[in-house]
Symmetry: C2
Subunit: 421 residues, 2 copies
């Protein structure tokens, strides 16, 4: 059990050599960071020999990665459409896909996404609740059995809301929030605790959970069940207790040789992003941090991809490692293909800006290259180092402006300066 | 001369009472801040009795404002099109328009934008160079005469690159930059100094310039002629010398009773935004700060509006007051109407997030209101407090999901929690 972490304290397993290379990291350094729990490389052991991708490293010193959620809902259940969304995300810069489907043939939807040969995450409690039919009828056995099934299917990382315990529920009651609980996983566990009066089984039987995950080398994504739903709810007691819980569970996972990352909020006013992110990092001893947004304003509906990208860059400045894309239709509707494309692009942009904070050589060199390409008005070279070459080319070719662009035309500063000097 | 500043040290001129009200500031406080030079309210004295707008306050404790540039170029000269772009900008959240036209009947283009009854800015050196025909033939008299004409036409604020002096040129030579000079105004003045060997007349005859501006109560926007054109050029000597120069000129303007703000870069790596903005604020004794972007990556061509919005929010955290919109077509082509709409929206969003850093009551209350609207699944209330109500409504109405949205359908966390509690 836990072979990734336990065997690699001095030596990197051979299947991660490409990962180290992709991160411009020595195998020894990557091994040490995985062993210290500051980096994870999510890949289910069952996919090791069949997958053709280089599993992505997430965490300290790695390029910031982007996840895109897809998935059916009862209001819009079209598995083909979700498959196309996953393709669109991967084409536009996503490093991983989470399937959050709650309607249709869930197993077959996962198989279809898995066929894309990408890093795949799921949230097993969605399926467990659906099978139970009613939240009150969900028991620990069913939940653990669904978790095991997802592992057996080759899912690479699982979001599990292990930190939503009775203490969190008590904090929610003693320090109420405007929007209560807005994470679906968070609501399921809260409802279960309220209905049964019992502790969250993922908390009380955490060691058993770790055994299952270790068997398949599945990465645990410690879910953000108390994600604030609005600015007024940020940094309240319930979320802070959950930060503490997730920090404790992160330590136990590491001891058990199970790779894990921490999920974080959510809706946070801009001035609170820094200390929320820093707190998560400190409490978990620098576990990799997986953030949804954060959304630094609540009134940007329709442009929440931009709001999320702004928040994501702020979070990256303080240590976020893995960004969960927020689409333009967040809070309003299930995303369509265009939403996925636009959202993924702006998050790929945010991740690159995050990489600049880390002084990653590839990112810095690409910036330098663009400066040189612009200084010589070399348009092909500009397009080739742009994040979105075809979009840049298409806008530039809209007007005919010879060697400059139609913004300034013959009054191009670069051209004029060349003449003077 | 200088009546706005000199007469209002204790009492606010009556024409600015609505401005104080709009900013939820007492007239005394606004008067004190204008007198201290930490706030400007650009309005040409000739427009005071004819304009129907409340002139916008820019600076300490004010709502962050957005400017949108429009203007013809030799490659695309269509004044009607530029007029429509100005309308689109104002419809989507712009507080001011700068006309940067360099082709066509410049005076008539300005008149057409002025007819929109919005705060208007220009860059007189563009017209001066065009009239001179050749940069070497531009003399101080022509430049000052164009400046006076723009004042006489009722322009509210003028960008003038007064800080680009021989010392800046020397710094540019001793500490060269990859892209040299990318501000058109900066290039004109640099070229003029190189050609004539003489000092920039806007620097050497700054007192005369102040006399003209004071006569019309026109606000001076101290131009960013050494704006870095790529990340490698940020925070180099030439720009730092210009920061110092602008700080000195800001002090002289204030003494002369002329309202002024400082323009800032440009292309800056994310980790350098904070100290660049803080430096400008400190060196100018907290003059209002007007920023173009900054662009925190150079490789986002096609999405530079998002890059600029991300940089703008960072800059707001450190004191930026006035944001110059960057459009998706920046670096590639003259913006079209869609570019203006998209760019203005994301900058309006950035400005609102900036307002949250300032703890402005209107901005905070709107966030609170959205939380309440969401917690009760009150969709009409959500739309009405969204920044872009019609866009939010249109996305939400895409699918039928009854009282929730199609993202989660019947598994809406808010709805489920309401049931449990």
């Amino acid at each position: 059990m836990g072979t990734v972490i336990s065997t690699c304290q001095t030596k990197l397993p051979p299947h991660l050599l490409d990962t180290a290379h992709a991160e411009r990291m020595t195998p020894e350094r990557l091994a040490a960071r995985i062993a210290a729990g500051t980096v994870v490389v999510p890949q289910n052991i069952l996919r090791r020999d069949t997958s053709h991708i280089t599993p992505p490293a997430i965490g300290e010193g790695c390029r910031i990665k982007v996840n895109v959620n897809i998935g059916t809902s009862a209001s819009r259940c079209d598995p083909d459409f979700e498959y196309q969304k996953a393709c669109a995300a991967l084409d536009n810069g996503a490093d991983a896909i989470m399937d959050l489907s709650t309607a249709g043939d869930l197993k077959s939807i996962r198989a279809s996404v898995r066929s894309l040969d990408t890093t795949l995450g799921t949230v097993p409690i969605y399926e467990a609740v659906r099978r139970a039919g009613n939240i009150a009828d969900l028991d620990a056995d069913l939940l653990f059995s669904v978790i095991r099934e997802h592992c057996k299917e080759g899912v690479d990382f699982l979001t599990l809301h292990c930190g939503v315990n009775l203490e969190v529920l008590e904090s929610l009651r003693s320090d109420p929030r405007t929007m209560g609980v807005v994470s679906r996983g968070g609501v399921f566990h809260t409802a279960l605790m309220i209905t049964t009066g019992l502790e969250n089984p993922l908390w009380s039987e955490f060691d058993y959970l770790l055994e299952i995950l270790a068997e398949y080398e599945v990465t645990l994504s410690l879910g953000d069940g108390m994600r604030p739903g609005c600015h007024d709810d940020a940094t309240r007691h319930a979320k802070t207790v959950e930060y503490l819980n997730l920090g404790r569970l992160a330590g136990r996972s590491l001891e058990a040789g199970v790779q894990r990352m921490i999920e974080g909020p959510g809706h946070i006013p801009p001035d609170q992003v820094g200390y929320n992110v820093s707190m998560m990092k400190e409490l978990s001893r620098n576990a990799p941090l997986y953030l949804l947004g954060p959304l630094v304003t609540d009134i940007g509906a329709g442009y929440d991809h931009v709001v999320g990208a702004i928040g994501a860059v702020m979070a990256c400045a303080h240590g976020a490692d893995f960004l969960c894309m927020v689409s333009p239709s967040e809070h309003l509707a299930l995303p369509d293909i265009t939403d996925i494309i636009e959202g993924t692009r702006v998050f790929a942009l945010a991740a690159h800006i995050g990489d600049l904070y880390r002084n990653l050589p590839d990112a810095k060199e690409r910036e330098m290259e663009m400066g040189l390409a612009r200084s010589t008005l070399d348009w092909e070279r500009q397009f080739s180092c742009a994040l979105f070459p075809e979009i840049a080319r298409s806008i530039h070719s809209r007007d005919d402006a010879e060697d400059t662009c139609s913004m300034c035309g013959d009054l191009c500063a670069i051209k004029m300066l060349q003449k003077v000097l």
